[in-house]
Structures are given as C-alpha cells and as structure tokens.
C-alpha cells in the first residue's frame, strides 16, 4: 500500500518535470532509479532504467506529438520486475497494458479536464485577473494530467497487472480511437483563434502559401519561415516606396477578412 502511494508520487514527480524546466526527470533513466529506491533495490532499478531508456529513446515531445506514456511504463515495469525478481523483458510485457491504460485516462484528462481550465483562464483574462490566470495554469496541469498519472499508477500497482489487463479489455476500442481523432481536431481551434486575430484581406493569401509549402513540398516550419521572411521583406520594401501607385489605398488595410 505504502509502496503503491510512493510509486504514484514518483510518477507525479516525473510528470512535474514540465513544471521544473522540462528537465528530463520523466526519462526512464531517472524514473527507473527512483523506482529502485522505493522498491529497495537501487542497482536493479538503475539498470532497468537504462534498458528502458534505450527502448523509449525515440519518445520525446516535438511539436504536437505526445510521447507514449513512458512514466507509468517505466515505474510499473521496473516495480513489477523488482517485486517478481524477473528481467527487463518481463518488465515491459507487464508494463505495456498499464501504460496503455494510463494513456487512455491521460487522454480523457487532455480532452475533457484540462481544456476546462484553459477556458476558465480566458474568463479570468477578461476581468484582468492576473492571479486567476496563474491559478488556472497550475491547477489545470495538476488536475488535467499530473494527478491522473499518479492515481492510475498507484492503483495499478496495488491491484496488479492482470486486473489492469481485464479493465483495459472492457474499454471499447472506439473510445481510445475517438480520443486520438479528437486530439487531431483540437489544434484547429487554436489556429482558428490565431487567424481570427491577425488575418486581414491584404495578408490572407500567405496562410495558404504556408499551408501549400508544407503539404506539397513537405517543407518544415523553419523553412517556411525563411521563405516567408524573404517574401515579407521584399513586400515591405515595395510597400514602403511612396511613389508606388497603390500607396494611397492603404487606408482600409485593417478591414475584417
């Protein structure tokens, strides 16, 4: 029981790397060692952490992609391996269903809980309430992600791997897929809001330019920024010349799109 709670807290500490400077605390190398301390076998924890680190090497967040739930995978995999006295292979086999379960709950938090805080922060901003916005930032990350991971890891360790597998079998596949699809759709809201803010008739085509460069030529955002920068400089210079014929018609440049 105590071990289960401690493992939950370790997982929360791992996720708290996002509050602590994205400092790589959640990497298996670190989580494995901390799990080893809780389970009373530090060298095994460190070695299993290194093994799992190699397995999860490719998993780190770039852009919008979220890495597999490696915190629960490492903590529970290492914990089960130490408690049953088995090796890294067994650790992964036991941990994968749990990592999948944590991912489902984490996704539920990402789709239903955290956005509530994001929208509440908008309300506080409306009132000019600085503390309110900060509070939403802290509470949103805690209740939307951090606590969920900790609780699911603690309970999973307490009930054991077979029970978790049984629970996972009950959750229909379309719920898991549906959450994934929703995550692909959600960024459209953020970009829609951005466009609403900066788009006007004069510059609207450049959105399509960026989009087309990306989908047709697979140019990464840095490349688009370089091309965009050159075009922007050229256009700004043309615009700056007072003898240009259209210089007089610039009055309506802030019209709504």
């Amino acid at each position: 029981m105590l071990q289960a709670i401690l493992l939950g807290l370790i997982s929360m500490l791992g996720n708290a790397e996002y509050l602590l400077g994205t400092s790589c605390l959640s990497r298996p190398l670190v989580m494995g060692a901390l799990t080893g301390i809780v389970m009373g076998d530090i060298p095994t924890g460190v070695v299993l952490g290194a093994t799992l680190e190699l397995a999860f090497m490719g998993a780190f967040s770039i852009g919008a992609s979220i890495p597999p739930e490696m915190i629960s995978g490492t903590v529970l995999g290492t914990a089960f391996a130490i408690s049953t006295g088995s090796g890294a292979e067994t650790a992964l086999t036991l941990a994968i269903p749990i990592a999948s379960l944590v991912l489902v709950f984490k996704n539920l938090g990402m789709v239903f809980i955290l956005p509530a805080f994001v929208h509440k922060a908008d309300d506080y901003a409306e009132k000019g309430d600085l503390k309110g916005v900060s509070r939403m930032h802290y509470l949103g990350g805690f209740f939307g992600v951090n606590l969920i991971i900790g609780v699911v890891v603690a309970i999973s360790f307490y009930v054991g791997s077979p029970a978790v597998q049984a629970l996972l079998a009950v959750i229909p596949e379309w719920v898991q897929n549906g959450l994934q699809i929703a995550m692909g759709l959600l960024p459209a809201i953020g970009f829609g809001l951005l466009m609403q803010m900066i788009i006007n008739k004069e510059v609207a085509p450049f959105f399509m330019l960026g989009y087309a460069l990306s989908v047709y030529l697979n140019i990464p955002v840095t490349g688009i920024a370089i091309f965009g920068c050159i075009i922007a400089i050229v256009l700004a210079q043309l615009k700056g010349q007072p003898q240009m014929a259209y210089a007089g018609s610039e009055v309506d440049e802030d019209d709504d799109f």
Partner: protein, 271 residues
C-alpha cells in the same frame, strides 16, 4: 513615459523562473498558451496598472504558443520588450506583438528541438546509460546534470538577450519610422508560419472505403488527390468560420471536436 513602466533585470528574472513551467499546462487547443501568459504576468503587472489594459494583454498572450521550452525565453524576452514599448508609446501597433511571437516560435522550435532534444539529450543519455548499465546511480545523476546545466543556462541567457535584442531593435525601428512596414512584414511571415503549423498539427482522415477490390479507395485518399491535407484545411476553415461569423464559444467547439472524434470512431468514418 513614467519610470515605473521600465522593465528591470529583476522582472526578467521572475519571468525566467516562471518559464520553467512552460509545458505544465500544455493542451491540445492552444498548447503553451496558459503557461506563456503565466510566465509573462510579472511584466504585465508592472507595465499595465489598469485592469482593462491587463485584460487586453492577458487575452493577447492566451493565444496559441508553442516552441522548444528551454529556448522560449528568447521570445519571452522579445515580447517583454515589445510590451514595454506598447505600454509607453501610444502609437505602437499592438497587433505586431503577436505577429512577431508567431513568426519566431516556428523557426526557434526547428533549431531548438534539434539542438536540445536531438543533440544535448542524446549526449547526456549516452553518458548516463553507459554508467547506469553497471547499476551505478551516478548514471541518472550525470544524465540530469549534463542535460540541465547547458539547457537551463541557455534559458537564462536567452531571457536577457531576448529582451536586449528586442529593445535595441525597437528603438532603431521607431527612430527610422519603419514600424508600419515591420508590422506588415511580421503579419505576412506570421500567417505563412501559421499555415505551415496548421498543416503539421491538424489531422483529419476519412478511411471510409468506397468501391471494392482493385477499385477500392477511401474518401481520405480521394481528398488527398485533390490536394494533400485538404480535410484538415477545410476543418480549420470551418472552425475559423464558426469563431468569426457565428461567434461560437471555444468550449462549444471543444465539445464539438470530442463528439466528432468519438462518433467518427464509433461509426468507423474517421480514423
């Protein structure tokens, strides 16, 4: 104009510490938006004594933001300098603040992700693993030190460098009277970057098959033949339309996305 509206080194250090939580409230809708606003609050508090001004500034910084977190202080510093100019100069074009933020975040992420995640982390991991394989606790400790000393050092350096860069640049622009051109250029660049990021981030696919045997194809494939990424583009325009013309609330849009996702998966239309 008043001396109280000057940003000090102390203010920037507050922003630096707050920037440690940039990924804490990372969300699918606007990614680092809450954490960016949270990090910038010491600046907003200092520059804008009036609640109404604070509200406008907070809303501005609650928009979409995402970049490599360790290097984001460069943009936070530049933004702080722009907010300072905005607070002290009535002519300042407020829109340019977000335009410049947007046009910087993509390229910084491109360079930052490959340096921080692709290089620094790999070096730290390599050294950490070689020790940890022998069960040596120094493995994870060295891993954390090798990664964090340069990463957080850069975070600190970029905080102050960004502010200085922004301030000297803005002074030059204001002296030369090129502000309207810069604003225009920033919105051109900003929108091109948003276009590229939309293509990379928004995902919609319809794997629903039509036809059979050799002729079988999916609706998603047909759409991609018309234009790659057509469906995400249409969906983004649809959301933009609902926001702009229907004044739909983001909460409603969020629920709409969740329902579309779950229903799409249930009926096997979306994938």
């Amino acid at each position: 104009m008043t001396t109280s509206n000057q940003i000090t080194k102390k203010d920037l250090n507050k922003v630096f510490w707050r920037s440690f939580g940039l990924e804490w409230s990372w969300n699918y809708e606007r990614q680092m938006n809450m954490s960016f606003a949270h990090a910038l609050i010491p600046i907003i508090e200092k520059l804008y004594p009036l609640k109404t001004d604070r509200a406008v500034a907070l809303k501005r910084h609650l928009e979409f933001f995402n970049t490599t977190p360790h290097l984001a202080t460069l943009i936070l510093g530049i933004t702080a300098s722009m907010e300072e100019s905005n607070a002290n100069n009535l002519d300042f074009d407020t829109e340019s603040i977000n335009n410049i933020k947007i046009s910087l975040m993509g390229p910084l992420a491109g360079i930052g992700d490959s340096f921080i995640w692709g290089t620094l982390r790999i070096i730290a991991t390599g050294i950490g693993i070689s020790l940890a394989n022998q069960g040596n606790i120094l493995g994870p400790i060295l891993f954390l030190l090798i990664f964090n000393i340069p990463a957080q050092g850069l975070r600190y350096y970029f905080m102050h460098a960004g502010y200085k860069l922004g301030s000297s640049f803005l002074t030059k622009i204001q002296e030369s009277g090129l502000m309207s051109q810069i604003t225009y250029a920033a919105s051109v660049l900003g929108l091109a970057v948003i276009g590229g990021m939309t293509a990379e981030n928004v995902a919609v696919n319809i794997p629903f098959a039509i036809g059979s045997g050799e002729a079988a194809t999916t609706i998603g494939d047909i759409c991609n033949n018309i234009m790659p990424g057509l469906l995400p583009l249409l969906f983004t325009f649809f959301v933009y339309y609902l926001l702009k013309k229907k004044n739909m609330k983001t909460t409603t849009l969020l629920l709409m996305c969740a329902v579309i996702g779950l229903a799409g998966a249930f009926f096997g239309i979306l994938g």
